[in-house]
Amino acid sequence: MSKIKYILGLFDDPDDMMHGIDKLKQNNFSVYDVYTPMPIHGIEDKLGVKRSRLPIVAFCCGITGTCTALLLMWYTLSYDWPMNIGGKPNFALPDFIPITFELTVLFCAFGMVGAFFFKNHFFPGRAPRVMELRATTDKFVIAIDAKLNTNHSQIDELLKEAGATEIKHNDRKYVSYE
């Protein structure tokens, strides 16, 4: 049993890389992930990446904000200590809309940022985990799980055929910044 955990194919050209993904898939190899220095259209569909559920989080947080604002204003201005402002009804809904709107946006924004950080393991003091540092500058990288896909020589060949400029067999999943 080899100690190789991940095989990385480094490409200079995004089109070559997309071609490489096709080739690997045609030969029944699974792609673990792809790292590119810029967004590439259509790559989610190709890799079968599921759509983000962040909008659902946003909706739930937003509704929570709406309810919090209305409940707070109803309790303070109408229920606990009814206030007469400008002769309006105690629960003057139009007057409450701006604050309701603000709290909806606030809860929604904070909730989304929090959920995004939580899901992506972004915490203070957390070292970023990167599989190949050059994927953040000029290389387009395909990562293949070497434990799941055992025919390493064929993977190498396919990557080379697709135009990979470099192929790495890594014993460790991530490289650190040190």
């Binding site: 995004p14 089109d15 997309m18 071609h19 590439i40 259209h41 259509g42 790559i43 569909d45 190709k46 759509r51 909008p55 909706f59 400008g86 002769g87 309006k88 139009p94 007057d95 809309i97 701006p98």
Partner: protein, 408 residues
């Protein structure tokens, strides 16, 4: 990108064939409109008929102006995604001169026959010796007088029409000659138009709609009307694009373009509500009688239900239906929402015009439906006749390829 090679090529020179049933139906609708106008006048509802004519001709002009505005924004922003569907707003813009002419004729005829704007243009209102003397109207007479009023309307609508004609010509020229010259010129004209339109469109709505109730005024009214104009324009553009697509045209327009149009419709429904509410809240909160009278009229009797219905159709429905990404990508859902918004904003215009003029005498019967149908028919007839004269894509547009490969 290699991810989605569109190996097939499109026939950008394809033209829309306008004829058959659609042409017949649109002409029948125009006849229904004429019948409704005749019915209105013959049954002694001259004012009501004029107000309906004003409503629909204003609506019609707004949709056409929104087409020109959409086109101009795309040019100024150098947007690529919309190049493939630009001929649709252009077809709207092409008929702006006709729409403007109709609006000017309706306004002038209503003004001189004292069916419209009699609130400030009536006899003796500005004469201190007259028994009808109205000091508020007299104070506004430097602005609200017939020659200045009509010349404003003619100058504004005339200048929009000139830009519509110029930009259409440039686009046709681009089809014939190619190159970037027409495109660069279009950007320049678009920028000038946007500046002129931005300053004059609010005044246009002050004059045409707000002056029906000349005692009341709101500085938000211009933006409120602009927001309404923009959302009806977007809904009409989206509806036309989807209908053309369903009829087998515009094969280069895909779900991504519809999604972007859907975002526009979603966002500007909210924008319209935002402006509507900004006007309403200030008046509600301040509670000054000369301001609240406007909403007082709109809360009385049956108008209260329409007032709420207006918000349900134009705010709640699009927001809730178009909130998810999937719905914005479904042609049928988008079509439904666009039709809903177009009907909803007829109600919005109705609520701007009727409570302050006819009040309790306003209604909803053959006059309203007929005039509305007539203008819809006229719009479809003129717009599609214009659309069928040229290719369905600006085939030499520099961003056309980008538009075809648009993906979000």
């Amino acid at each position: 990108m290699g991810a989605h090679n569109h190996s097939h090529t499109y026939n950008f020179s394809e033209q829309f064939a306008f004829g058959g049933k659609l042409k017949m139906f649109s002409l029948i609708a125009v006849l229904v409109g004429i019948a409704a106008v005749a019915y209105g006048f013959l049954t002694g509802h001259a004012e009501r008929t004029f107000l309906n004519l004003l409503l629909m001709s204003y609506y019609f002009t707004c949709v056409c102006a929104a087409g020109l505005f959409f086109m101009s924004i795309q040019f100024v922003a150098q947007a690529g995604w919309s190049a493939g569907l630009l001929r649709v707003p252009q077809a709207f813009a092409r008929i702006l001169p006709y729409a403007s002419l109709i609006l000017i004729v309706v306004v002038a005829a209503g003004l001189f026959s004292h069916n419209l704007y009699h609130h400030w243009a009536g006899h003796g209102l500005t004469d201190p010796k007259s028994e009808h003397f109205d000091p508020v109207i007299a104070g506004k007479s430097a602005y609200l007088n017939i020659p200045f009023f009509l010349s404003r309307l003619i100058i504004f609508l005339g200048s929009y029409s000139i830009f519509a004609v110029l930009m259409t010509k440039l686009s046709v020229n681009e089809d014939l000659v190619g190159g970037l010259k027409s495109h660069n010129k279009s950007i320049k004209y678009a920028a000038i138009f946007l500046v002129i339109f931005g300053f004059t469109a609010p005044i246009w709505s002050f004059d045409t709609i707000m002056s029906l109730e000349a005692h009341w005024f709101s500085t938000m009214f211009g933006w409120y009307n602009f927001a309404a104009m923009w959302i009806v324009g977007l809904a009409a553009i989206t509806l036309t694009v989807i209908s053309l697509k369903k009829a087998g045209y515009l094969p280069w327009i895909n779900q991504n373009h519809i999604h972007d149009l859907g975002k526009f419709v979603f966002a500007f429904s909210i924008f319209w509500t935002y402006i509507w509410f900004a006007q309403f809240l200030l008046i509600y909160y301040a509670n000054i009688p000369e301001e609240t009278v406007y909403f007082y009229k709109r809360w009385e009797g049956n108008y209260w239900n329409l007032f709420l219905l207006n918000l349900v159709i134009n705010f709640l429905s699009p927001v809730l239906i178009l909130m998810t990404r999937d719905n914005k990508r479904k042609l049928n859902v988008m079509m439904f929402v666009c039709i809903l918004i177009l009907c909803g904003h007829w109600l919005d215009y109705y609520m701007m015009i009727m409570p302050g003029t006819l009040a309790a005498e306003a209604g909803f019967n053959f006059i309203e439906v007929g005039v509305a149908l007539g203008f819809v028919g006229l719009f479809i007839f003129l717009m599609l006749s214009g659309l069928s004269k040229y290719s369905l894509a600006p085939k030499n547009h520099p961003f056309l390829d980008e538009s075809v490969h648009h993906q979000i």
